[in-house]
């Protein structure tokens, strides 16, 4: 038997120190357990949070003690120079009314120092309907900009050289069509596809899971995405062909661990589909990007972003055999959590957004959208958007936060949370595998149920006063809400769009359009990549809905499993 007496005196001393730490932590826990503890929920996710973390919580894990940023597994960041090399991109999501109005907002944002554009489309566009389709009534231009054809896309970027900006487009069901409109609009400016930089969200799995702007059934929708991976790798090499999104999953109610695991599982599914097509993983994986929601639980969010990078790197390298380090690196956009904003005392939202933005930056985001204070009431006004952008600028230039890379690396709590979230995600991957994978889990509604259950639990916690929301169920005020100016969208955009579409249909070469649509149907029936066919339709000024309908003729429509 070995006793401390036999050990080297240094080791014995260390052993003694460790024992002393154990005793002190035990004493601290005992005092905590004996004391009065407020009866509230201490975590946004299901896991309990201890009142104190020490080196003992990292036993069996090195945390990131032997890691530097820019090296596998990238827990501490993908760039060796962090924000010292390049700040994050301040990318404010915007779009409303007509292409002309939104074009003016983009020019305003570029003039204010925003460094990348981000297009918000209206619901008809998100669903693949033209502005003059009966299903679009009342919704044209309301939640984003209406884009029904190449002509609208040309107007949207009029005077904005597409070889000089990077553009993110939040579009999923009909993503392939809007991407072709963008490529064709660039051609009109004399900009070649290989010069284009940007991202198309194109994450259909999370649409079925949470956000619900779909067009086609799951299998053909996945085929369109792989067509874009393939075409992008060959012709639009600087474009991110997908932004695999946890944002909407979280907003719909998921916990941080569910957001992390469901999103990564979606990502793995896309990788598997690309490989199944016969693509070399290293040809398309470097163009896969991610999009995270940054919620209220400050340290958990930072840990989530660190864990996400590590999990992605490990799976891409070890499970999918990617050899190019760029395939291992998770690059991501973040947005502060819209769902945390309150309609009550809306000025408080500025503070929420600032804390969330800080978490996103401490988590090493590549780009960031900060929400505006008035978004629970309407689309944001220009003043509200400016405060949101200034929040990022203060963070970037005044706080000193970006000066040091991964400054929370080595924090007992953050390292432990990072390990914990990784373990939670792996446990959820196993559950997803038991469901038969992501597609099977969507068909049975497993994911949708998990998310709805989490949402119901959060509502219950709020109503039981287990969770306090300032201004909503705590620190409420009796007086009338603060009056803040709201952006009003009238029906003008809808009328203008209808007139413009009528002119377009009258002026274009109708026979050529019908021939292009027929060729597209034929290609969709086979196994050819459909991107070049949709590009031809776009160039001929076929409309969004005409192209969607041609594909729907072949693919059919999606039917959701309904439950609550």
């Amino acid at each position: 038997m070995t006793t401390p007496m036999d050990l080297d005196p240094t080791v014995a001393a260390m052993q003694e120190e460790l024992d002393q730490l154990r005793n002190e932590v035990a004493a601290c826990r005992a005092r905590y357990d004996a004391g009065a503890v407020r009866d509230i929920s201490y975590a946004n996710s299901a896991d309990a949070v201890a009142p104190l973390y020490t080196a003992l919580d990292l036993e069996g894990s090195a945390g990131t003690a032997f890691e530097v940023p820019g090296r596998f597994p990238f827990t501490r960041g993908i760039h060796p120079t962090g924000y010292r090399g390049k700040l994050w991109t301040m990318r404010q999501f915007a779009g409303f009314g007509s292409a002309k109005e939104t074009n003016a907002r983009y020019k305003f944002l570029l003039g204010q120092g925003t460094t990348g554009l981000s297009v918000a489309f209206d619901f008809p566009t998100l669903m693949g309907y033209d502005s003059d389709h009966p299903r679009s009534e009342g919704e044209v231009g309301k939640c984003g900009v209406a884009i029904s054809s190449l002509a609208d896309m040309e107007q949207l970027f009029d005077g904005i050289p597409l070889d000089q900006v990077s553009t993110s487009m939040t579009i999923n069901g009909p993503a392939i069509i809007l991407w072709c409109f963008y490529i064709a609009a660039a051609e009109k400016q004399g900009v070649r596809p290989e010069q284009l930089r940007g991202t198309v969200q194109n994450d259909i799995l999370k649409e079925y899971m949470a956000q619900h702007a779909w067009c086609f059934p799951i299998e053909p929708a996945l085929r369109l995405i792989v067509d874009m991976f393939e075409y992008g790798a060959q012709h639009v090499p600087q474009w991110n062909t997908i932004s695999i999104s946890g944002y909407h999953i979280r907003e719909a109610g998921a916990t941080a661990a569910q957001e992390l695991a469901f999103t990564l599982a979606d990502g793995f599914t896309y990788v598997e589909r690309g490989i199944a097509r016969g693509l070399d993983v290293d040809t398309f994986a470097p163009r896969l990007s991610f999009f995270w929601d940054v919620h209220n639980d400050f340290f958990e969010e930072i840990a989530k972003l660190r864990a996400a990078r590590r999990i992605w790197a490990r799976h891409l390298k070890e499970r999918y055999g990617a050899k190019d380090p760029r395939s291992w690196m998770m690059r991501f956009h973040s947005q502060t959590a819209g769902v945390t904003l309150t309609a009550q005392q809306p000025m408080n939202n500025v503070v929420r957004v600032a804390y969330q933005a800080l978490a996103a930056v401490l988590g090493g985001t590549q780009s960031l959208h900060t929400n505006s204070m008035d978004e629970t009431l309407a689309l944001p006004t220009e003043q509200a958007v400016q405060v949101a952008l200034r929040t990022q600028q203060v963070l970037a230039f005044e706080t000193g936060v970006p000066n040091v890379i991964d400054p929370l690396g080595g924090s007992y709590y953050v390292e432990r949370l990072t390990d914990q979230l990784e373990a939670d995600a792996e446990a959820l991957f196993a559950q997803i595998a038991e469901q038969g994978g992501v597609v099977a889990g969507l068909e049975t509604g497993w994911f949708q149920r998990k998310i709805a259950e989490s949402a119901a639990r959060q509502q219950w916690e709020i109503e039981q006063q287990r969770r306090h929301i300032v201004g909503v169920n705590a620190f409420t005020t009796e007086e009338e809400g603060l009056e803040i100016p709201l952006l009003k969208i009238d029906e003008q955009a809808a009328r203008e769009q209808a007139a413009a579409l009528a002119r377009l249909r009258g002026a274009r070469d109708e026979a050529r359009c019908q021939a292009q649509l027929a060729r597209l149907r034929e290609a969709a029936r086979g196994t050819e990549n459909v991107v070049p066919f949709i590009l031809d339709c776009a160039r001929s000024y076929c409309t969004l809905y005409e192209i969607r309908a041609a594909l729907e003729d072949v693919f059919g429509a999606y039917r959701e499993p309904v439950f609550f």
Binding site: F123, P124, L126, M127, Y129, R135, S136, E137, G138, E139, K142, C143, E207, Q211, H212, A213, E251, A252, G253, V339, L341, T342, A343, Q344, T376, L377, A378, L379, A452, A455, A456, Q459, I462, E463, I469, V472, N473, G481, L486, I489, E560, V562, F563, F564
Partner: protein, 137 residues
């Protein structure tokens, strides 16, 4: 004991945000009401038809898309056409206060914004129902 209140929870239009609709549907069910949820992307015609066929007392519409000034009056008009203007139309979403007031003036019931406790709308529906139903049935 009176019969349970029947509620149709519906998502009109193209807006896919169903977190609120599902939370509300579950809360109303837990409060003892009979709840039917339509699923997403319903037209006003589909909602009115479902409300009449299911013989509901209340239609709850969830709209976060900004299209509330089109969708609420349309559902109300379609129900009135079928002689069912006795059905309470309530709901919620991202709806500015002045639009809520304008819709109430058009005969739509009370609308609820973000942060409303589900107990508020349960109480509202129950008291509306109690006032409508004759005593003692």
């Amino acid at each position: 004991m009176s019969r349970p209140i029947r509620v149709l929870v519906a998502k009109p239009g193209l807006d896919g945000h169903d977190r609120g609709a599902k939370v509300v549907a579950a809360a109303l069910r837990d409060a003892g009401m009979e709840v039917i949820y339509t699923g997403l992307h319903q037209t006003p015609e589909m909602i009115a038809t479902a409300a009449v066929q299911e013989d509901v007392d209340v239609v709850g519409l969830s709209v976060l898309s900004g299209a509330h000034m089109t969708l609420f009056p349309r559902v109300r008009a379609l129900l009135a056409e079928q002689g069912r203007d006795d059905i309470l139309i309530t709901g919620g979403g991202i709806i500015p206060a002045e639009d809520m007031a304008a819709l109430e003036a058009l005969g739509v019931g009370k609308l609820f914004g973000p942060g409303t406790p589900t107990t508020d709308l349960i109480d509202y529906i129950r008291s509306w129902f109690a006032a409508r139903e004759p005593q003692g049935t």
